[in-house]
Symmetry: C2
Subunit: 223 residues, 2 copies
Amino acid sequence: MSRLLYHLWLSPFSRKVRVLLTEKGLPFELKVEKTWERRTEFLAMNPAGDVPVLVEPDGTTLTDSQVIAEWIDETQPAPSLIGPDPLQRAETRRLVQWFDGKFNIEVTENLVGERVMKRFLKLGEPHAPAIRAGLANIHYHLDYIGWLAERRTWLAGDDFSLADITAASHLSCIDYIGDVPWEQHDAAKDWYARVKSRPSFRAILADHIPGLSPPSHYADLDF
Amino acid sequence: MSRLLYHLWLSPFSRKVRVLLTEKGLPFELKVEKTWERRTEFLAMNPAGDVPVLVEPDGTTLTDSQVIAEWIDETQPAPSLIGPDPLQRAETRRLVQWFDGKFNIEVTENLVGERVMKRFLKLGEPHAPAIRAGLANIHYHLDYIGWLAERRTWLAGDDFSLADITAASHLSCIDYIGDVPWEQHDAAKDWYARVKSRPSFRAILADHIPGLSPPSHYADLDF
């Protein structure tokens, strides 16, 4: 039995685990889970009903992107993508939580959530004030990414880490629908170009959702 | 310099760290941070602007309750409150995320958020449909706690863990405003009675916010 990841194409949490597994050199298969259908067998694996869900080759089932990330870091320690010591690990986790928590609520949910997921989840029409909020909020987050990237090699410090993976996973979903104002944020754009050029990001850039094409710059390494 | 925790009285995330530090036998001082005032010095410590923030005796500053919990578990491993092996740790973290994520959005924010925090944060009047949603949602979460507690000694398994601390931290905030329907959920109530009787929970039960008294059963171990 091979490793299996239940996911959705524009779920940043699923993308985070896809990139992490690839950075760790762990092969896996992908299976789309239409979470809005609330399949009984899927809810038995994950009562929270969301993706990602990882089924390890021995059948061990794990849910929640950060639970999965900590599990992989503990069971497959090299290369460490959280960090070598408690202080570095705290900084990586702080930024992971920044993007999975604050950025997700202030930006991703307002843009990808309103424009795309709401349709799939049959939650009604996109809410224009939410989209406007997302388009406004993304600027200060891109400023923060730029601020970090100008002071550090990667977002959490000297090494590429789960912080970069998490930030890039959210941004790649938003970039897929053309909502990232790269032209106004050079430092963030330079950092994202470096993430895009990593082999672990290739599969993300090759994503192509039927009926929803990305803009031409989405997969372009020199965007 | 002693260990200092910036907190708010009805912040479940702050309570989680208070109980965790006490379970670990680590002394600390509490300082209320009125996060809605957005103090410059506080934002310099934590750009996210929320509590808890922990300042260690050597000045190391940590933010986000789960980042702090992982830091404490790594720097002060005994007794482990996440678990002895990766699989148990994944289950503890899954439940921590359940309560800090799902329960928080579906219940805590709708009840404590609407009835109390909205006033402090000057976000307007409580939203009646949100309160109704919180009062409806809490039932299935109490059922889930009861379901776990009937099958395991503690929520995540044989040992008292961060999962119990996290669930009880949220419930204690809601219990402070009298919104937990204990009488309809015996198994969850029995579990919470066991948490309440732990020495680490004494300070939580002694909380008394000026102008907002808890109901008489709040601190009662035999409620």
